[in-house]
Symmetry: C2
DNA sequence: TATATTACTGACCGCCCAGTCATTTACTCG
DNA sequence: CGAGTAAATGACTGGGCGGTCAGTAATATA
């Protein structure tokens, strides 16, 4: 981690670089082991400093955690929002572009571990959970929803509830991240992300195409499958 | 939790009921706070016993965790497998039936917290992770994949890679559970599960329908959206 | 080179909690 | 009812880890 330990000095002053290095090390370990199971000594060691140094830059473990999340997500959403604003072309192309960019700049990056971390810990740190929800999740939701609504308005997509459709778009993306950061290691033939995302987009483009019946519960022709809405079934 | 504390006794002997009650309490707390953040004293208290009693039935915290997972999932998969075997009718109907049953007997139950727990902890307990993968995940995958393949063979679904399509089916289901057990609490308008699942099935039935181009990267007509395969793009 | 400054260290502290066990209480059986 | 057994208790312990701080080593200044 230390760039070049000049000569044979035991350590060098690197006031500027420390926080970023510590946060990077912390993110790695938090994602791998979870917040509680990660020792501050380990984080410090991975960043090439002692635990005491960590406390020069972060006042507590929780503050370090917050900083990791904050600094990790700041660039993310903004980038997505700029992408949507600047786009000219079909809504589906935009959707593809978003997925691609997301994968390359987040998913396939160590930042891709953050969602797993947040899902695991948001109940233990409601303040951070709420922050993450406000600053990342809800903005991400709005972003995708806007694309869907634009596509529906132009007639490119059929009319469906954008809020729920948005979740159908995001679920496989988030799921991919969670998978890679948890069970991927025991899978015989690991998931190939590019193929996975292609498949997802392919199913979406067909599922969203207009002219095949609107909304749930309706079907255009007398097909074999008749949709039984869960809403009408008795609850447990 | 104790059924009836007879008379004014300080406690009663309930050798048979203790393990189940302890596991139930443990599942609640593990799901809510995570494995590490859950205290054995709390589990015992919720089950109405002292910590010492817990150790009469489980030799360690980790053994308790294993037992919780094991006992929680034994009934689950088998039920699904019986469902598939006994089904007569279209593949999509079967898919619906699976989703409904899953939701009612697992998703909308405290068992629905197990996936979150496993995703969070499987890296810290590789042995349990592997067990869960073998006994639940891979069997669940095979189950859904079999339905897809049957549907493709009969021409009800278009031909696509069943392994990846299976993941597209499961992702929103698992995602629903994770959501409910983590961020749901900070959502202004919470997700309505029945509507969510209906929407999912609706998108699927359209996305899987044949006669709209096969596989990713192909489109039948000159539509606005042209699919750019991620496979062909440069990697990060 | 001498002095002042400060980034950094690592031994140390105290709390917390998994795990133990001697004792107490409930039940069983004759 | 009384003796024997098994279930349950809760005070205790030991280790681990978050957090501290007096001291040390690197750098700045002159």
């Amino acid at each position: 981690m230390n760039s070049q330990p000049k000569h044979d000095r035991r350590w060098t002053r690197r006031k500027e670089a420390r926080p970023a290095e510590l946060m990077s090390a912390a993110l790695d370990l938090f994602v791998e082991r979870g917040y509680a199971a990660t020792r501050l000594d380990e984080i410090a060691a991975r960043a090439g400093v002692s635990k005491g140094t960590l406390y020069l830059y972060f006042s507590s473990k929780e503050e370090l955690f917050k900083a990791v999340i904050r600094s990790g997500i700041v660039p993310l959403i903004e980038r997505g929002e700029r992408l949507v604003d600047g786009h000219r072309g079909s809504s589906f192309e935009l959707l593809q572009e978003i997925v691609h960019t997301w994968w390359e700049s987040i998913g396939d990056t160590k930042l891709g571990g953050i969602p797993k971390l947040m899902f695991s810990e948001c109940r233990n740190f409601p303040e951070i959970g709420r922050f993450y929800y406000e600053e990342v999740i809800s903005r991400g939701h709005q972003l995708v929803q806007a694309v869907l609504e634009k596509g529906m308005k132009s007639g490119e997509f059929r009319r469906i509830d954008a809020n729920y459709a948005m979740r159908m778009i995001l679920a496989p993306l988030v799921y991919l991240l969670l998978w890679r950061h948890s069970f991927d290691f025991c899978d015989g033939k690991p998931v190939h992300p590019e193929k996975y995302l292609d498949q997802h987009l392919d199913l979406l483009v067909h599922g969203l195409k207009p002219g095949a019946g609107q909304g749930s519960g309706e079907k255009k022709r007398g097909e074999t499958a008749k949709i039984i809405s869960m809403e009408k079934r008795g609850r447990r």
